[in-house]
Symmetry: C2
Subunit: 491 residues, 2 copies
């Protein structure tokens, strides 16, 4: 066990270096630094792979597994590391190096392509990304569908069939809901668009993030074109946000990333720098970002507490009352940009990406044809057609980072957030009474106890079972949406 | 040669990671991140040491040395790497790891100690720093004095005796010069103290840095408590500065670091990521920061060009003319803070540190007695006594970073900057005519050709010989100072 832990310390330092390089690349790195950064990342990634995906590591794991008491934290650690080890040993080092190089190069190309609305300049990268992911899936192996191998990288145990079932249930309920809403008068949100001083946006978002419990002595918030949360210690978690002419973009972007940040910061401190610290899967992580962004941040109670502060920062909002603000930030409208989509239509955005990924991976769709397929699907599911690729298939960072198979985890997270919230509300009485008083500690304590403090101790499915007694279930989510939006739109 | 280069790529990636971690630590890292950062840095440092200071590396070097044509770039590369290799193989891995851990931990403790003017809290770190440096010197070996071993880490071939001679010449000339100046009426610089908008300071310093030729597409400027320049590619060089109530602090701090940055950015691009890229030694580096800070930035011609811009940013300076501004930023006055000292008294600051380092290393002075010794020496050499340690022996970052033996290189740099400038002026005619028109390219071109483009190809002493035909010589420096300050103070 001790020899394993020493090796893990070395690996952890390389991971921390790559994490910081990735953060810097998106927040501060000058353009000229891209080439060297790509080289450094690919080199560190190869060194990590050589230290990790080797027979010596296999021996260390076997030795540690033999020593660890069943059910102990050490046993959980061995399980977590072995899962990564099994995946890593299936990938040849050249593939790992290519992946790191591609994700560093790809990011720069994507930023430019999105800025210039130039899909053609990104297409060669995207072709390499899909080809690489096919090779990765082949190396990892799968039983039913190539997508299963990739999805499992982000969500242990989840499959394409799970996604098909999940999206089917969602489509059945959300399409009629969107239709009913469309028949009602639309909520005015024109006052959310305008010029918003960047410094004041920064201050206000930092105030919110601090209020819900994110510790700014053990983390910070910077600006990035596509917000994300990263970190290399439970005591050093980095959030990012962005400031635009649509005020909710910064507010809910910050709350979303802070939700991820709270999950990371609240692992047990004694687990820091071990494989047990941090969120257990993408869906679990997303359940927490969505909890703080939507269930907390888009509630009427939250704005009863914070609208006066926002009005002090931006006096042009003085005439807006809580009800109007609440309705505006919960306006349901089919739109083009996933990260700014409302709760009801959001999952249709991930559905488009899920379907495109499956089709490209199985050669039913060529990369060059993605823009057309994307636009057609938006028209079919959301009734809107992107006028250009910058607001269409170039909008997301994921593919530029080499990731395929990620998007369904967002929707799983949406669903889980409502499952957990139902239980939290049962235990705490009325969480919205707390929120309206700005008392977030009881909520954070509940989530810490049930979820955050568990780190990666259990598999995602086991953690869900321990918290809910069951498995992923769209019912609370669909019921919650219907309740909320029936009230907002007077259905 | 190819096998050596591949190993160097791995080492370079680790160095880049440590460089970025160091930059982040001083510019952005939240306080809570210190412990993990220290662990990651010490781990990477040990991994680097294991990859570098091993017999396999010795074999690769021997193999490469046999292949390289004498006088070729490859031969120069082997020489540069071998020098580091010889040093590294003399140090046991525990020592290297302790050094990295100490410098990460030490930085945090120092920041707090300086903030709270609390030498006692820093003393335990400082004791460890000196003990560590004694052990390092013993491992490296030296002929005459323990100081030689440490100084050589920063300035190849320089010795304590060189320093004693250099400081003797400087003392003989600068002490009477300071005395003559003290008898003259003092220049008014009260208008340089005040409240200066941070955003405007940032904009103005970036304008200067860009004007002299620093490429902000291949670098950036951030804020750090103690300004420095770092980088991990000729295309990614990071400057830092600080914004205070004394306006020249940001201006000349930025020009100083940009001078380092220009040296780094102007290595041949094809040398990027090889051991030949970058400045060859601390003294050579400092000669360039001083050239741009003092010979260029503190000239009358520079302010004839830039004072109007500064006045636009800060209208409170509207009534100040170029002559008054020039005299104010060249005010000679014995003071407490090295980095803000004038050109004439500056070297007395490094002399204090040089003497204290020698005394502590040879057990003539205890660490606990440094504050008293420091204050006594300031009184003796500069006629001023620090009222507290924050403005005394806690002011510099170097010791907190584990560095002992560094300070004399600043003074060597001052001297070299005047030697090079004399030759540049001979070749370009009147450099001040160019400067007053804002034409910095001819200056940068000259320095690039003679110095920057040489990278680490030659030893520092060989480079100085190639540029000047001789060696370090205080005469141009002392003559230049006398000429400049006789005019300013009407001596």
């Amino acid at each position: 066990m001790e020899r394993l832990k020493k090796r893990l310390t070395d690996l952890r330092a390389l991971e921390a270096a790559m994490g910081l390089m990735g953060w810097d690349q998106q927040c501060y790195m000058p353009k000229g630094g891209a080439e060297a950064r790509a080289l450094h990342l690919s080199t560190l990634s190869r060194m990590h792979h050589e230290l990790f995906a080797c027979s010596e590591m296999g021996d260390l794991l076997a030795e540690a597994a033999a020593e660890a008491e069943p059910g102990s934290l050490d046993a959980a650690m061995v399980r977590v590391v072995r899962r990564d080890y099994d995946k890593a040993t299936k990938l040849p080092p050249e593939l790992v190096e290519e992946q790191a190089r591609l994700s560093a190069e790809g990011h720069e190309v994507w930023v430019e392509a999105r800025r210039n609305d130039d899909f053609a300049s990104f297409a060669p990268i995207l072709r390499r990304v899909f080809e690489l992911n096919k090779r990765i899936a082949d190396c990892l192996g799968y039983e039913e569908h190539i997508y299963d191998a990739l999805l499992d990288l982000y969500e242990e145990g989840a499959t394409r069939n799970d996604c098909l079932r999940m999206y089917e249930a969602l489509k059945q309920e959300t399409v009629p809901l969107v239709r009913s809403i469309a028949e009602r008068p639309q909520n005015d949100d024109s006052f959310l668009h305008g010029e918003w001083d960047v410094e004041k946006q920064r201050e206000f978002t930092l105030r919110l993030v601090r209020a819900i419990g994110f510790d700014l002595e053990r983390g910070r918030q910077d600006v990035a074109p596509h917000p994300f949360c990263t970190g290399w210690s439970v005591n050093d978690i980095r959030l990012t946000t962005r400031f635009t002419s649509y005020l909710p973009s910064a507010i809910f972007g910050s709350l979303h990333e802070a939700g991820h940040g709270l999950y990371e910061q609240n692992s047990p401190k004694e687990w820091d720098q071990t494989p047990l610290a941090g969120g257990v899967s993408m869906a679990l992580h997303e359940s927490q970002s969505r909890t703080w962004e939507n269930l907390v941040g888009r509630s009427r109670a939250f704005w009863a507490r914070f609208l006066p502060d926002l009005q002090q920062a931006f006096p042009q909002l003085a005439g807006v009352d809580v009800d109007a603000f609440y309705k505006a930030v919960n306006r349901v409208q089919p739109s083009l940009i996933r990260v700014e989509a409302d709760e009801v239509t959001y999952n249709l955005h991930t559905l488009v990406r899920f379907e495109i990924e499956c089709e490209v991976l199985t050669d039913q769709l060529a990369v060059d044809d993605i823009p057309e397929a994307w636009n057609a699907k938006y028209e079919a599911y959301l009734g809107v057609r992107p006028p250009n690729d910058a607001n269409g298939c170039l909008q997301d960072v994921h593919w530029s980072g080499g990731m395929v198979g990620y998007f369904p985890t967002y929707t799983m997270g949406n669903i889980l957030s409502f499952q957990f919230w139902e239980l939290l509300a049962k235990d705490l009485g009325d969480p919205y009474a707390l929120i309206s008083r700005g008392e977030f500690a009881p909520l954070l304590d509940w989530l810490r106890e049930k979820i955050y403090s568990q780190g990666k101790r259990y598999t995602p499915k086991e953690l869900v079972r321990r918290v809910t007694g069951g498995e992923l279930d769209p019912k609370p989510y669909l019921a919650g949406l219907k309740r909320k939006y029936a009230e907002i739109y007077g259905l």
